[in-house]
């Protein structure tokens, strides 16, 4: 089974987000980019499927994404059989899906596994767009993929803890919410080794027309109307204030 895993980097949200002077986007100049956490889960689930069913896991990224080289080398260090860097840049999921669909038409996969969403896919999620372009069945918010004979059975989650099992014929596209186990870790030494060996393939992709997305008027930080009142002092002083707040509501025992 050939499993393709599209990976994408996103701004690290631990950092402060700055907006561009024209207010139409975020200023990425000083941001750190990291692998989208759901893509990390997708890679883990793909590796688990390969371990169960055999085959090949191919991590793919766009060369226009910041830090994508590092991400692809890390994917190999974690166990991906190959990594491909597709020429192109995508400012939206729609454009990304067009580039990836063009690549996948030339290099077909049995299973395409990616994150259910990213923190910046304002115009929609990649997996369903990719499936629609390729005419494939798909399912998102998936928390486990069991390989079968010409099919996969996935667990799809709903709100409130409900879920269901779907069987999809292959090829199919899966949007992963969480892998069956926490994503594995690749030691830095291993990543360095992989980097020294090289081994990322480059591929061209002719996307053609991606179609129109929404028109962004402005991006801004949410107004802090109901901002929390910050408790001052060291940990001990803050602890005292919290206990008082709870005690005042009768929520402290004794």
């Amino acid at each position: 089974m050939r499993i393709v895993v599209p990976l994408k980097t996103v701004p690290d949200l631990v950092e402060e987000i700055e907006f561009t002077p024209d207010g139409a986007g975020i200023d990425t100049e000083y941001l750190t980019f990291v692998l989208s956490e759901w893509d990390d889960q997708a890679l883990e689930e793909a590796l688990l499927v390969r371990e169960a069913a055999g085959g090949q896991v191919v991590a793919v990224g766009l060369d226009g994404d910041p830090e994508i080289g590092q991400v692809l080398y890390t994917a190999i260090a974690k166990g991906a059989d190959a990594a491909v860097r597709i020429a192109g840049q995508a400012g939206s999921a729609r454009a990304r899906s067009a580039l990836l669909a063009a690549y996948l038409r030339r290099n077909p996969a049995d299973l395409i596994v990616t994150g259910v969403q990213t923190v910046d896919d304002l115009d929609g999620q990649l997996a369903p767009m990719l499936a629609a372009r390729l005419g494939l069945p798909h399912a998102g918010v998936v928390t486990g993929v069991e390989p079968g004979d010409g099919s996969v059975t996935v667990r799809q989650e709903f709100s409130g803890g409900r879920s269901q099992e779907l069987e999809l014929p292959l090829p199919a596209v899966i949007g992963v919410q969480a892998a069956r186990q926490a994503p594995r870790y690749a030691p830095i030494s291993k990543i360095r080794q992989v980097m020294a060996a090289g081994g990322i393939e480059d591929a061209a992709a002719d996307a053609g027309e991606a179609g129109e997305g929404p028109l962004v008027r402005r991006m801004y930080a949410p107004e802090r109307t109901t901002r929390a009142q910050m408790l001052e002092g060291g940990a001990d002083a803050v602890a005292g204030q919290i206990v008082e707040l709870l005690a005042a509501r009768g929520l402290v025992k004794g």
């Binding site: 969403q117 999620q125 399912a139 069987e167 028109l215 910050m230 408790l231 709870l246």
Partner: protein
Amino acid sequence: MLAEHSGGTVSDSTRELLGKAAELAGGLGGTAQVAVLGPADLAGQLGGAATVLWMDHPALAGYVPQAYEVALAHLLAERSPRLLLLSNATVGLDLGAALAVLWDAPMAAYATRLAVEDGVPVATCQVLGGKALAEVELPGDRGIATVVAGSFPASPPGTGTAPEVVAVPPPPGLDGVATRLRRVIEPEAGDVDITAADVLVSVGRGIGSKDDIEIVAELADALGAALSASRPVTDNGWLPKTRQVGKSGLKVKPRAYLAFGISGAPEHLEGMRDAELIIACNTDASAPIFDVAHYGTTADLFDLVPALTERLNG
């Protein structure tokens, strides 16, 4: 808009869309029409909409993404609505982006506000884990918005006049749907019911490891509170799934919610923003959790949690 339903009842998110759909339809000079797929007779619960477009077929007996997609694509081609509204939960996450391609419509995901301005639908969308809002237009003759749960008030059941029901014949494409629904899994009952607790001590990825869960468990004990968590903590198996608060977990409304090392992603806030008192501890002063918390602190949880436990046990 699409009605989501299970067991003959429309979902809360669908009831939240109803009033908004009618309002937007008014602004655009049209009517609100609700697609109901499958054997359910839901018109009585969809008051406020003008029309129910009802389609039934064996492939629509439960929620199967491929079947719903074929059915909706057919309705969109036939009815050419100006705007399609979906929930930004599993069903909307599956269908919205797929239809954006198939129906060639611009889409706004994670919408928390929707309005019509000068005849154009405008959506405000929550991105970057709640750290940014994007105001976008859906120009042209069509558009799709997926709406975050809790953004609009839910129409109480039984309000408004019942819509007219139009039965739409299923398209032949539904016969070819190869995805199968194997089984539906109801949530397991937990050892502790976090929805019944007066006080919740809730822990997020900031805790860093399973071993350190112990310190928040001790605090919960000292407070007589139940221990709950954000999704990464349950995904990692540090706490059982039944302790998860949020979109795909449980919705809680305790008298006090103490959040440690939780950033406050929209999917988490969905589950706890109605708590009476929210106190958040997060070392990042710009974490969105502080937008819903009543009190906050940027103390390190590894200093604050033991200090709290000591005071309470002292």
